[in-house]
Symmetry: C2
Subunit: 619 residues, 2 copies
């Protein structure tokens, strides 16, 4: 079993272009905006333990929101400390507060300590271990970034407390967390400190999962939705709450990686297959129902009620990147690319200020009209149609903050004797085999150029994207034909090389497995990694009245007119309006129209609008 390593963001500088812009937007706008909204909404006050002073009641997941924001800030401090002084000061203030508030036994949770100390480790649904996990991740990041270990020590003391309550003395009312997260956090802490105890604690929570179902007091989950239906050695399907499940699978992948456990990896392979071949939207989003925010049955992928939480996009990246560390299989990188350009990017508005919790694949405003008739308590819950700055359950925005802040960590893998480029993102990387530069306008032209002046491995591997229509390569200006195998291209290179890659991008229509009811008779337009959609703003309302002929693909016009992104126009047909409710089918008519597709991730940036990914196709 491999233990490949992604070149960490510490050694990666995003240097220009599409992803650099998004990185900077997150750094300058999103992180600041989340800070403002967390200040407004009392999240920082919770961690200041100010409840008795100001009466602003903390929620039991507030600590995790604050932790994720702090983790983002830590990553940004590491790369550019000067720009983060104001945020660093707030982090220090919060660490002061935590240090003062931490109980002598090490326990630390702003809500339980201030509101319900009698319930500490009593209710599995209360997210204490989930909050602890995010605080651990933040503390590790903060120590790496600043060299100061105060936050880390706090969390090590808290880990001692957790170890006693759950493992040594077993005073907790449950064995494994309601919301997974602490498992992968403990592996991070183990890797950072080298302390085997944290690895053992992670294994404890993983091995006991699925063997100890305790119903949550505050909300009913069943074993299935709580990933308690099977233990990790019998895992086969992706089940239940999607974020929780994917955090669990990431933790299991860490365990497989650390222990060289082939059985666990094979189980995770089945889970990965279950997700990507049966339970994933074309955008890489997962979560088919709002009911328990989860995976459901195979091929159940409704578009307008898709749950597809933004945190799932992040969790998919966590899971897939861990799987890629264990084995070089192109499917992991394919998935990461799909998520990055679609469900991940759609989470944030183009101005960086606002966020989606759900990322549906269809918005039909008429569906919302019908809710006018119902009292709020009777309303069907449909996804919001516009991104907002903060949610009452605002897990996604700071998760997005921390994700973009360490985006550099998902580009290249250091294998034993070489480098493997997984994602084409313009950057300068310091690798074990010398410096490597990536230059690309990949999403626009399907091309990327790799270069180095001091590369010592003698060979380099690159992932061929699944949409590629062919690989054209030039090494130092001369055409070369690489060895291609299982989705990767292998090149031999000198110390000083320039490798220009062209994956022959072209728009194409994609069909869905006919088991997916919502997508039958429909196609989605994609161009390279980017899934496209129709919006009312360009195409009028009632987007389901539009039909495309896939044979018209040759007539598309690609235009660089949409926020520096390509829009795609093509001929289509629109069902002619009818006065009658039902009429002889032979009287149905359609009229030719031109439709304009925009990248899915950019939807809902021009006010409220109908939106559609899966468009009816002329059969």
């Amino acid at each position: 079993m491999n233990q490949h390593r992604f070149v960490p963001f510490s050694n990666v500088k995003l240097n220009r272009g599409f992803w650099k812009d998004r990185y900077e937007l997150n750094k300058t706008v999103s992180v600041q905006n989340v800070r403002l909204r967390f200040e407004d909404s009392g999240r920082f006050d919770a961690m200041r333990f100010n409840y008795l002073k100001n009466g602003r009641k903390p929620h039991y997941f507030f600590d995790s929101d604050v932790a994720k924001w702090m983790e983002a800030v830590a990553y940004l401090i590491e790369k550019d400390p000067d720009s983060m002084r104001a945020h660093e000061a707030l982090c220090e203030e919060l660490i002061d507060c935590m240090e003062k508030a931490q109980r002598p036994d090490g326990y630390l949770n702003s809500e339980h300590q201030q509101i319900e100390p009698e319930n500490i480790f009593k209710d599995r649904g209360h997210h204490e271990l989930y909050c602890a996990g995010h605080l651990i991740e933040a503390a590790v990041a903060y120590h790496k970034a600043t060299g100061r270990d105060r936050f880390l020590k706090i969390m090590e003391r808290y880990c001692d407390c957790i170890e006693r309550a759950f493992i040594t003395e077993k005073t907790a009312a449950f064995v494994t967390p309601g919301h997974e997260e602490i498992e992968l956090a403990l592996y991070k802490l183990y890797r950072h400190t080298g302390n085997e105890k944290y690895k053992q604690m992670a294994e404890f929570f993983l091995i006991n999962r699925g063997t100890d179902y305790v119903e949550y007091k505050n909300v009913s989950y069943n074993p299935y939705s709580a990933q308690d239906d099977v233990d990790i050695y019998h895992l086969k399907d992706a089940n239940g709450h999607s974020v929780r499940a994917l955090y669990l699978y990431s933790g299991i992948a860490d365990m497989a990686l650390e222990n060289g456990d082939e059985t666990l990896y094979q189980n995770l392979e089945q889970v990965f297959e279950d997700i990507t071949e049966r339970k994933m939207y074309i955008t890489g989003g997962v979560g088919s129902t709002r009911v328990y925010e989860g995976f459901t049955v195979p091929y159940d992928l409704p578009n307008h009620t898709a749950y597809t939480e933004s945190c799932c996009a992040i969790a998919m990246m966590l899971f897939a990147s861990r799987m890629r560390r264990i084995a070089r299989k192109a499917k992991y990188g394919h998935l990461m690319e799909r998520v990055l350009y679609n469900s991940m990017l759609s989470s944030t508005s183009l101005d960086g200020k606002s966020f989606f919790y759900e990322n549906p694949l269809e918005i039909a405003l008429e569906e919302y009209d019908r809710e006018v008739a119902a009292l709020p308590k009777f309303r069907e819950r449909l996804p919001i149609t516009q991104r907002v700055e903060v949610f009452s359950c605002s897990c996604c925005p700071p998760n997005i903050n921390r994700f973009f802040a360490e985006l550099g960590s998902y580009i290249c893998v250091e294998e034993g004797d070489s480098i493997c480029v997984e994602q084409y993102i313009s950057s300068d990387l310091k690798t074990a085999f010398g410096n490597l530069s990536i230059f690309e306008q990949y999403a626009l032209d399907g091309k990327a150029t790799l270069s180095s002046e001091d590369y010592t491995a003698g060979k380099i591997t690159v992932r061929i994207p699944e949409w590629s229509r062919g690989v054209r390569a030039e090494l130092n200006g001369k055409a070369v034909v690489p060895t291609i195998c299982d989705g990767y291209a292998y090149f031999e290179v000198e110390k000083n090389f320039t490798l220009a890659l062209d994956f022959c991008i072209a728009p194409m229509f994609v069909a869905a497995n006919p088991r997916i009811r919502a997508d039958v008779g429909r196609v989605a337009l994609v161009r390279g990694p980017v899934v496209y959609c129709l919006e009312k703003a360009d195409n009028g309302a009632h987007l389901n009245q539009i039909t495309v002929d896939t044979a018209d693909l040759e007539k598309v016009v690609v235009t660089d007119d949409f926020h520096h992104l390509y829009s795609i126009s093509m001929p289509a047909y629109r069902d002619a309006l009818q006065d009658r409710l039902y009429f002889a089918a032979e009287e149905a008519k359609s009229t030719p129209v031109t439709v304009k597709f925009i990248p899915y991730f950019a939807f809902a940036n021009r006010g409220e609008s109908d939106m559609l990914v899966w468009v009816r196709k002329k059969a």
Copy 2:
């Protein structure tokens, strides 16, 4: 304004064929089965005022269930008293109980008197006036059938009590009922007794509607869903709970008819148009959401979550038949035919024992699978897939009992100087102009023969069904060309005549208004009045993978092989199975198959099965 009269079922004998079979099935099986289940479920015990004795708690709508069953029995007694002796004995027993239990002030409600006398006329949601309405209808029917007025007198005393509480003394906590029904019942009582007071009471409840919104205590409805958003003189749209709304519109139609009120009729015309041109399923079913069991916004007609309560089918018949009394417009008869052969018939199993509450237009069993993952309280409510013998809210089964028992009342209209045949149902009718016989196998061959030996009107009018491809007529064996105008054909006839009509039935595909999202790109197969569907039992699962080419209509094979009904087979295509979740659209394949359609109303009679009315069409 007309005051046409339907020939009452008292003067109609269903003599053979399709509808006679259903009438007999209702009489011999359904009525008996509802009786058994109502005995099991304590409904009759409620009316026996046995709660203190046996502790079986009545529900506040039980009286209406019992009343509808008694009304059905009364209609059947009127036609065939000997067959109903056992049921009549139960009716007498229940009338005894009511007589004893009725309070001195006339009040009568088994639930309120036994469980919560303190709440009498205090909660608008408690269905007391609704129960009273159904008891009134039953009492009138029972008096007509038996000549015994004991039940009628009980209800007249109850009406006095209601008049005092709501009109004279105004001690009730609300002004108009939560669930309409008493309005049309009071008109029935008025017409039966000639007592103007009941007409005035009906008008009181109608005129005050929409002017006095009082929220229900036990369940939240808003003015919109409770038909309280506008008064009856400003009514334009069909809104809110569908059964309640349609009972209201029926009551208003009675008022328009009795008072010759053209304004009310014109408002109802707009409502009728709103229903039939914007809010009705192709089966004649209405009610697009389970949330408040109601009408929603125009063109919101989802198939697999259709509410389309069986009681709505009945209520549509009540409304449309009243509209037909006011004006001879073919659309009323068209609607009644659509309802009769589809949403009305689908309510009952082919063996007559079981009933649907909801009548969806699609069942995708995979949709139900996903609910496995959720705890019951989190489950989306999907319609049941198999008819059952009784529901906890079992309003539909006895309503179906009474409907079929007076089916004869919907066939012919006596106009001022002639007869107008609205529905082609084999029967012998005694009309004001002599005897008339109808012989038909209408749903099979699109033909009907009218004949008489003593017909005195000299002319006869017949409705031309909307699906007709032409009218061929033979009078006394010779081809004739009738005058045709606005959906009716006019014939001059002798005293002794035989008029053979052929409406040229043929299968056809129907398309839906492209505003209906659920039906875009789809067609429904109809043949004459009957809407067809695909079932898994004939066509395998995943019916959405099937596509029909409407041009293949000429290749259909009509076979008399399905419970003496026609099935229709034709070539079609099935999407080829795919392993992959997403793939290049050009790789999508389909394979030719033969599909078999069966009448929609006969679905779910061969075990649990996928079902689909709106089939994808090859564009």
